[in-house]
């Protein structure tokens, strides 16, 4: 198994990818994923609130610490075992289109 060789998919993701995944997991838990739309330039209120909340916390942290902190929230609040490659890759595949869009949004936001 890849995990046994110390090859964790989670360690290949950057903080933006993990943050996008955290948002998707939160929406999935709140059953609001269907209401997410970035069309016509408008940002969903949940996304704005989420990025404001994490923007303040992450702004002063270097990348490695951002990754760790977001990983902590994924493993606790969202109960994702990020060090299970099977569980993580299933999540990433399931939401690949949405995640790609969210990562683009984060790349344009100077806080992240």
């Amino acid at each position: 198994m890849a995990e046994l060789a110390g090859e964790f998919l989670a360690e290949r993701l950057n903080s933006r990818q993990l943050l996008a995944l955290l948002f998707v997991c939160e929406c999935q838990r709140k059953k609001t994923t269907g209401a997410l739309s970035f069309q016509s330039g408008a940002k969903p209120a949940a996304w704005t609130e989420f990025t404001d909340r994490f923007g303040a916390r992450l702004a002063k942290l270097p990348e490695a610490e951002r990754v760790y902190l977001i990983g902590s929230h994924l493993q606790s609040v969202e109960t994702v075992d990020i060090y299970s490659n099977a569980e993580l890759s299933e999540l990433l595949e399931q939401h690949s289109a949405l995640l790609a869009g969210l990562v683009c949004e984060l790349e344009q936001d100077c806080r992240f």
Partner: protein, 597 residues
């Protein structure tokens, strides 16, 4: 088999580690006993009981006392008694703990945060790394059958020790419901906990956060890929154990001792809030994080519904630089304000820990002739060590050119915006202030002490505040700071503030008197009395309120006064480590700098 557990001294918190291992041992058909070194004669009891196994669970600091006890046992009984130690100390130090009959050679380098570079002569037969309850049944079976422990995961023996310092760990236990109820009888038969009305237990295991003063980050790295980090008992299983405990032991108050009791409003919390009042109905205390409360305020609504009386939410520092850059707390002042305000609205009494005396740079004085160099050095340190982005400052000021007065003012303002302060004591005053502003009901203000292996200890070495000689530290962590970056006056003010901080939570209007005058006086003994009275009042009436007879109260006051006195005493403290055996390496190779043997 007969198994004797050994603990150093009694506390007001159940030793859940011993209680669980004893319960598992009894389930497997063994007899268990407890020896409390503080008041029991170890050798006399060992002679009378003749245990097959003596087992210790050690935290760093108390481990030395246990090693002494174990050496005495092995000197007399040799192979006739098998001795084993688990707990945090062997989990993080097993590579330098020499076993019975072993000639241990340390590897030249350790990876990760600083560790003491000495071999500990333990005379133990085996060490258990990580969760001890997982290999425990297999260990008992092997020992009962005269077999070897060498093939059991988490166990280190002299014959299975790996040269690279690694150890095979089992998967995390994700089926906590299968564990037996804690065996409190073995502890209550020998301690005052039997009469104490507060019972401690945990609803689950695991904490994912990277706080640098804690072992969890390192622990989680060890267990990476070995199952879900957070595991909980089902609500029904948890409540069944509490009901059983309340039936068998007089109980007035429950303390859930999980690092973080709940992370969000989930099905578990909703079910707990629904069933706990009917099944148990006793007031309780638990620990959560402010940022999680802000993210999901309904957490408090459900805890209140369940009957919570008091809650712990650690602030750790009122200063944003320390909180984020040194402690990596991942929460801001607004998280703290929001969560504490919500607790007050819900009438939940708050308990917070805040760490003082943290070595951090101060902003140089603009009148200092060396201001130019010092300010630039500080900026360079923030960028290179803390990896902070000072782009906004560099956009305004050319740091390669000499600084004029205007540039100097801008740098000072900028550094202040990052949380840096002009005087050492300012950081601690800010920490006291955040507690007062947020109306924290009860607070502890310990001074930072560098525990081996934690990232914050490495930080204190990196910034030159600590030489890495852990052996000179005291076991008691509420004493004078060990850091060389503080002057004698700084240390006096820190000790005084750590005592008077709690008093200020009772009398916040004394703030200026304390900060501007009292902390500078050598009246620490008087401040200790004030601290003790404030602590007794707040703990007894607000945090863990319980009813006791007059005799019990007097006895508790006497015991707790001396216990607190010991915690704050420099002279009485057991040395953290005893030097036993040095490395055959020149001082320069010793991690953290040279030490004298």
């Amino acid at each position: 088999m007969k198994i004797m557990f050994v603990m150093v001294k009694e506390d007001y918190i159940d030793p859940m580690n011993i209680e669980l291992l004893s319960a598992i041992a009894k389930r497997e058909g063994h007899e268990t006993f407890l020896n409390v070194l503080e008041h029991d004669n170890l050798m006399e009891e060992v002679g009378a009981i003749r245990p097959d196994i003596v087992a210790y669970s050690a935290k760093t600091g108390e481990s030395n006392v246990m090693f002494r006890a174990n050496r005495a046992i092995k000197a007399t009984y040799k192979d006739r008694i098998f001795t084993v130690m688990g707990g945090p100390h062997p989990t993080f130090n097993f590579m330098r703990m020499q076993l019975y009959g072993e000639d241990l050679k340390l590897p030249l380098t350790f990876s990760g945060p600083a560790m003491p570079r000495v071999v500990e002569d333990t005379q133990l037969d085996a060490l258990v790394v990580g969760e001890g309850d997982e290999p425990w049944p297999a260990m008992l079976k092997a020992l009962a059958g005269g077999g070897s422990l060498d093939g059991i995961s988490n166990v280190v023996t002299r014959s299975n020790r790996r040269p690279d310092g690694s150890v095979a760990l089992q998967e995390r236990n994700m089926a906590l419901d299968d564990l037996p109820y804690l065996d409190r009888d073995v502890v209550y038969a020998k301690t005052r906990l039997k009469e104490f009305g507060m019972r401690s237990l945990m609803a689950g295991r695991g904490c994912p956060f990277p706080c640098t003063y804690c072992f969890n980050a390192k622990y989680n790295a060890m267990y990476k890929g070995k199952g879900k980090m957070l595991n909980r008992y089902s609500v029904d299983r948890l409540l069944a154990e509490i009901e059983d405990m309340v039936r068998r032991h007089p109980t007035q108050f429950i303390k859930f001792y999980d690092d973080v009791f709940v992370f969000r409003t989930d099905d578990w919390l909703v079910e707990f809030a629904d069933k706990y009042p009917r099944a148990v109905g006793l007031p309780f205390h638990c620990l959560v994080r402010s940022d999680l409360v802000r993210r999901d305020p309904e957490i408090l609504t459900y805890l209140k519904k369940a009957g919570i009386k008091s809650i712990s939410m650690s602030i750790e520092s009122g200063n944003p630089f320390i909180r984020e850059q040194v402690f990596k707390r991942g929460m801001d002042a607004e998280d703290i304000r929001f969560a504490f305000e919500l607790c007050h609205k819900q009438d939940i009494n708050t308990f917070s820990n805040t760490i003082l005396a943290v070595p951090v740079p101060v902003i140089p004085d603009p009148r200092d002739p060396e201001f130019d160099r010092k300010a630039k050095d500080l900026c360079s340190h923030l960028e290179s060590y803390h990896r902070m982005n000072l782009g906004a400052l560099r956009a305004k000021i050319d740091l390669s050119a000499p600084l004029d007065a205007a540039a100097g003012r801008k740098i000072v303002e900028y550094l202040e915006s990052l949380g840096l302060r002009r005087r050492v004591i300012d950081y601690d005053v800010e920490s006291i202030d955040i507690n007062i502003q947020n109306k924290v009901v009860f607070g502890e203000f310990p001074e930072l002490h560098p525990y081996p292996g934690t990232p914050v200890s490495q930080y204190t070495i990196d910034v030159g505040a600590f030489d890495g000689d852990f052996e000179k530290l005291h076991q008691n962590y509420q004493t004078e700071s060990p850091f060389t970056c503080f002057t004698a006056q700084d240390k006096l003010e820190q000790v005084n503030l750590s005592l008077l901080g709690l008093v200020l939570l009772v009398f916040p209007s004394w703030r200026n008197l304390v900060v501007n005058h009292l902390i500078k006086r050598r009246w620490t003994k008087l401040y200790f009395i004030m601290y003790y009275l404030a602590k007794s009042y707040l703990i007894g009436t607000k945090i863990y309120p319980m009813r006791y007879s007059a005799g019990h109260i007097l006895r508790t006051i006497k015991e707790s006064f001396f216990s607190e006195l010991l915690k704050h005493s420099r002279e009485e403290g057991e040395r953290f480590y005893q030097k036993r055996k040095g490395l055959n390496a020149p001082p320069s190779e010793v991690l953290g700098g040279p030490w004298q043997s």
